[in-house]
């Protein structure tokens, strides 16, 4: 019910004032060292006291999710953001189990399924404890890896399952922002897969196994174009909703990644920030926080590695 989010949305609208602005990013860029950046972030209310840069970013992510837990007991609208974490953990668990490697810093916290549940399911080769959208692809990926030792195919199966789960969650949400976000996420991933397949000379079977269905791309036409040549791929994309992504795609993976993140930000601004009654502003806030944390990470690592301001700015997304 819409009324459930009125209090939460009002809090989030007030919190949006504390998000980093372009001026804040410029100020961070003007800092000479990562330590100076951290001091500037402390002025903006970030908890930086005696922590490493990575710890600061992790703490900010944790703070965002703690706020969401406080505002709404039901985090299902956020699953579109959390499924990649689940499938990353599933991949790691399967690979560790099959190769016998000890898991070390491979699991990520904050998914919808506890890491222990995933590990136990993989260890026992019984995936019934996992949600349906994970159980079947997990069993399939495990079998493929055991039989062929082909880690890439295992990843392909799980990546496609992840995208399918995101698209399904988007449709089921009946919320324009969640649906639009899920569609964009899946479509952008499909374009990246098709472009990569083109560069590495993959065959039709790979594309069929990798591409996840979405509403704004015709997968047969996309596969056909990717198998033909780069020009055909660009021509097909120029006839879709993603025509403005063709130039960034030509420029390279990094430019395309930046374009897709900017498009995601534009989607949040268009839908999420005009809404006062649904969960959309909360999702928009989480995405905005993820963007600013990513921007701070780019600046801090750029400063740490002595990159020029120009190169750092080229990687920064629109705020």
């Amino acid at each position: 019910m819409a009324e459930e989010y009125i209090y939460a949305v009002a809090r989030i609208k007030t919190r949006e004032l504390t998000l980093l602005t372009q001026q804040d990013i410029d100020r961070l860029m003007a800092c000479k060292t990562p330590a100076e950046c951290l001091r500037a972030l402390a002025d903006k209310g970030w908890d930086t006291g005696g922590k490493t840069a990575e710890a600061v970013l992790a703490a900010e992510t944790e703070k965002t999710w703690a706020l969401m837990h406080e505002l709404t007991p039901d985090l299902s609208p956020f699953h579109v953001l959390l499924y990649p974490t689940d499938f990353n953990n599933l991949k790691a668990a399967i690979k560790c189990a099959v190769t016998g490697a000890a898991p070390h810093n491979v699991f990520m916290a904050g998914g919808t399924v506890p890491v222990q549940t995933i590990q136990a399911a993989v260890r026992q080769n019984d995936f019934s404890a996992l949600p349906d959208f994970m159980a079947k692809p997990a069993a399939e990926a495990m079998q493929v890896l055991l039989r062929t030792r082909d880690g890439q195919r295992c990843d392909t199966i799980l990546d496609r399952a992840c995208l399918t789960a995101i698209r399904t969650a988007g449709r089921e949400s009946q919320n324009p922002l969640i649906d639009g976000f899920a569609e964009l996420k899946v479509a952008v991933s499909d374009i990246k897969i098709a472009a990569r397949a083109r560069h590495t000379g993959k065959n039709r079977a790979f594309l069929t196994e990798s591409l996840a269905p979405c509403d704004t791309l015709d997968l047969d036409a996309l596969s056909e174009a990717a198998l033909k040549n780069e020009q055909a791929l660009y021509e097909y994309l120029s006839r879709t909703d993603y025509a403005d992504g063709v130039e960034p795609l030509k420029a390279g993976a990094s430019a395309f990644e930046k374009w897709s993140d900017n498009r995601q930000t534009a989607l949040v601004k268009t839908i999420g920030r005009q809404d006062y009654f649904t969960v959309a502003p909360l999702l928009g806030y989480v995405i905005a926080r993820q963007n600013e944390i990513a921007a701070v990470r780019i600046i801090l690592s750029g400063k740490l590695n002595g990159l020029s301001d120009e190169r750092i700015r080229a990687r920064l997304r629109e705020m």
Binding site: E3, I6, Y7, A8, V9, A10, R11, I12, K13, T14, R15, E16, L17, Y276, F277
Partner: protein, 165 residues
């Protein structure tokens, strides 16, 4: 049933009108203030200094309930329930009922719609406190229609007594 006088229903119909005006406009305001109250609490949680500004917006959807009460009170006074003859014909009862309906229905709907506009305005003020004036005007526009309904109900209820039917 042989001695049943249809005019005895007049006061019941008039009372039904008064009850509807108070009830429906009151329900609308309760829902509306509930919604704006949640939004105001959300803003004040993050920024307590905004309390004064959001309080005015919070109260806006409450006016319909007061208008409904006013119409109900005037009707009760006119039909003699608060003292007087209580002599209301069937036709007059129907007229009182009809006179109360604008306030009842417009009160219910406008309070809920005004609450939605006020919730959006509370968020606007939270993000841009300097825009308080504009934020006030937006939900106040909805009030226009509640005031028009109040005017019609008020004029009708006040003048029904002078009609000889």
């Amino acid at each position: 049933m042989e001695n049943f006088d249809i005019n005895s229903l007049g006061i019941a119909l008039a009372l039904l009108g008064a009850a509807l005006a108070a009830l429906m406009a009151g329900i609308g305001s309760a829902i509306g203030v509930g919604m704006t109250g949640q939004a105001a609490a959300g803003v004040v949680t993050e920024n307590p200094s905004m309390f004064g500004k959001v309080l005015i917006l919070l109260l806006l959807p409450g006016t319909q309930g007061i208008y409904g009460l006013l119409i109900a009170f005037l009707t009760l006074a006119n039909i003699g329930i608060l003292g007087g003859s209580g002599d209301v014909s069937f036709a007059q009862g129907l007229l009182y009922l009809a006179a109360c309906l604008p306030m009842a229905f417009v009160g219910l709907v406008s309070a809920k719609q005004q609450a939605k506009a006020a919730v959006a305005s509370i968020s606007l003020v939270a993000k841009r406190p300097d825009q308080f004036g504009k934020a006030m005007i937006i939900p106040a526009m909805v009030e226009t229609y509640a005031v028009l309904a109040l005017l019609i109900s008020l004029l009708a209820v006040a003048n029904i007594g002078s009609i000889a039917i």
